[in-house]
C-alpha cells in the first residue's frame, strides 16, 4: 500500500488551476523534473506545454498504456477511445465545477428564480418529512 493515491505519472489526468485555461483538464505526457511536467489536452484546447505541478491538480483518472512523450494526434485518439473526458465529466468534482460556472453566469432574474424554486423545493420536502414523522411516531 502506498501512502499516496494520486501519483505524478505519464497518463495521469490533471486539472489546470491557474491561468486562462484554468478549469480544463490535460494529460501528463512526460515528467521534466520534480516540479514540472509536460501536459497536453488536445480535446480541451490545452496546447502542449510545461506546467508547474503547483499550478495543476492531480485527478483520480489515469490513462491506460500511455507511452512516454506520445504525440498530440495519437494522444487525442487515445483520449477519445478511452473516453477520458466522459469519465471526468461523470465525477462529482467536474460536476461541482460545472455548477459553479453556471451559477456565475446567471443573471439577476435567474438568481431570483433559483431562490424561488429552492423555496418551493424546501416546502415540499419539509411537508413530506413532517408527514413521515407523524406516521412513524403514530
Amino acid at each position: 500500500m502506498t501512502a499516496f493515491k494520486r501519483l505524478v505519472e505519464v497518463g495521469r489526468v490533471v486539472l489546470l488551476t491557474h491561468g486562462h485555461k484554468a478549469g480544463r483538464t490535460a494529460v501528463i505526457v512526460d515528467i521534466v523534473d520534480h516540479n514540472r511536467v509536460i501536459v497536453d489536452g488536445p480535446t480541451n484546447g490545452v496546447h502542449r506545454h510545461v506546467a508547474s505541478l503547483s499550478k495543476v491538480t492531480l485527478t483520480d483518472i489515469v490513462m491506460k498504456k500511455l507511452p512516454r512523450t506520445i504525440g498530440t494526434t495519437a494522444l487525442k485518439k487515445a483520449i477519445i477511445t478511452q473516453k477520458i473526458d466522459e469519465q471526468w465529466n461523470q465525477t462529482a468534482w467536474a460536476k461541482k465545477i460545472a455548477t459553479r460556472v453556471t451559477r456565475a453566469s446567471l443573471t439577476d432574474f435567474d438568481r431570483f428564480k433559483v431562490m424561488r424554486l429552492k423555496k418551493q423545493q424546501r416546502y415540499i420536502v419539509k411537508r413530506q418529512m413532517a408527514a413521515l414523522k407523524k406516521t412513524s411516531s403514530a
Binding site: 456565475a104 446567471l106 443573471t107 439577476d108 432574474f109 431570483f112 424561488r116
Partner: protein, 238 residues
C-alpha cells in the same frame, strides 16, 4: 544649446516669432489697414471711371502712410466655440424596457422598468406603482444597475407632458422659516395631484399586463435587491 539673451529672439538677430505671429502678438489686426482699404476702393473706382480726379486720389491713397499707432491694449478676441451640449450617452446595457435596480434614494434596492431617456439625460422609470410602489420617477443612470431582463414595452405611449418639467418640485409655501412651520402648523400632508395619479395609471396599465402574465416576473419586480454574503457585485452578471 545657444543661450538666448533676449526673450523674443531665438539666437541674436533671429526672431522667435514669424511675421504672422508677430502680427497677431502685436494686435495689428485691430488696426485698420488704411492703405489696403484705400487700394481696394481705388481699384474699384479706377475700374468704373478713369477721370484725372480719381488719379489724384489714387496717388494720395498710395502715398498715404499708415498710422504709427495702434491700441496699447491688444484686446483678445475670444474664439467662437462650436461645441454644443450633447445628449447624455446611456450605458449600452440601458435600453427602454430593461429592468433596473435602483441604488440610491428612498427606493434603493427596488427593481423598476426603464421607460425612456428624458431630455435632461435622466432615465424615466416606473415600478410599476401597483406592483412595487415605485411611481413614475427620474433617475440618474449612475445610480442604477441595468439587468439583462427586458419587458416588452414596444407600442407603449408616454404622453409628451411627462418630461423634466413635470417632475419639478412645487415652490414651498410662505410658511418656511416661521414659527408656525417649526411647530408643524399647517404642515398638511402633501397630496399627490390627481393628474399625476391618472398619468401613473395610464402608463402602468400599458405594461402591467405583460408583467403579470409571467408570475415570476411580477414577483421579481415586487422583491428588492440586496447583496448577500460572498456576493461581489463587480463579479456578478445582471
Amino acid at each position: 544649446m545657444v543661450e538666448t539673451t533676449h526673450k523674443g529672439q531665438l539666437i541674436p538677430g533671429v526672431s522667435r516669432y514669424s511675421r504672422s505671429q508677430r502680427f497677431s502678438k502685436r494686435g495689428l489686426y485691430l488696426v485698420k489697414n488704411k492703405a489696403a482699404v484705400a487700394r481696394k476702393e481705388t481699384t474699384q473706382a479706377a475700374k468704373s471711371a478713369s477721370a484725372p480726379a480719381v488719379v489724384n486720389d489714387l496717388e494720395k491713397a498710395l502715398t498715404r502712410k499708415p498710422s504709427k499707432f495702434y491700441p496699447a491694449d491688444a484686446a483678445h478676441k475670444p474664439k467662437v466655440s462650436h461645441k454644443a451640449v450633447g445628449k447624455t450617452k446611456l450605458r449600452k446595457s440601458l435600453k427602454p424596457g430593461s429592468i433596473l435596480i435602483l441604488l440610491a434614494g428612498r427606493f434603493r434596492g427596488k427593481r423598476v422598468v426603464f421607460l425612456k431617456q428624458l431630455k435632461s439625460g435622466l432615465l424615466l422609470v416606473t415600478g410599476p406603482y401597483k406592483i412595487n410602489g415605485v411611481p413614475l420617477k427620474r433617475v440618474n443612470q449612475a445610480y442604477v444597475i441595468a439587468t439583462s431582463t427586458q419587458v416588452d414595452i414596444s407600442g407603449i405611449k408616454i404622453t409628451e407632458n411627462i418630461n423634466d418639467e413635470y417632475f419639478k418640485r412645487e415652490a414651498d409655501t410662505k410658511l418656511k422659516g416661521t414659527e408656525e412651520e417649526f411647530f408643524g402648523k399647517g404642515a398638511a400632508k402633501k397630496e399627490t395631484p390627481s393628474n399625476k395619479i391618472a398619468d401613473q395609471k395610464e402608463v402602468d396599465s400599458q405594461i402591467i399586463k405583460k408583467i403579470t402574465a409571467d408570475h415570476m416576473l411580477s414577483s421579481y419586480l415586487k422583491s428588492s435587491f440586496s447583496l448577500t454574503k460572498g456576493q461581489a457585485p463587480h463579479l456578478m452578471r445582471f
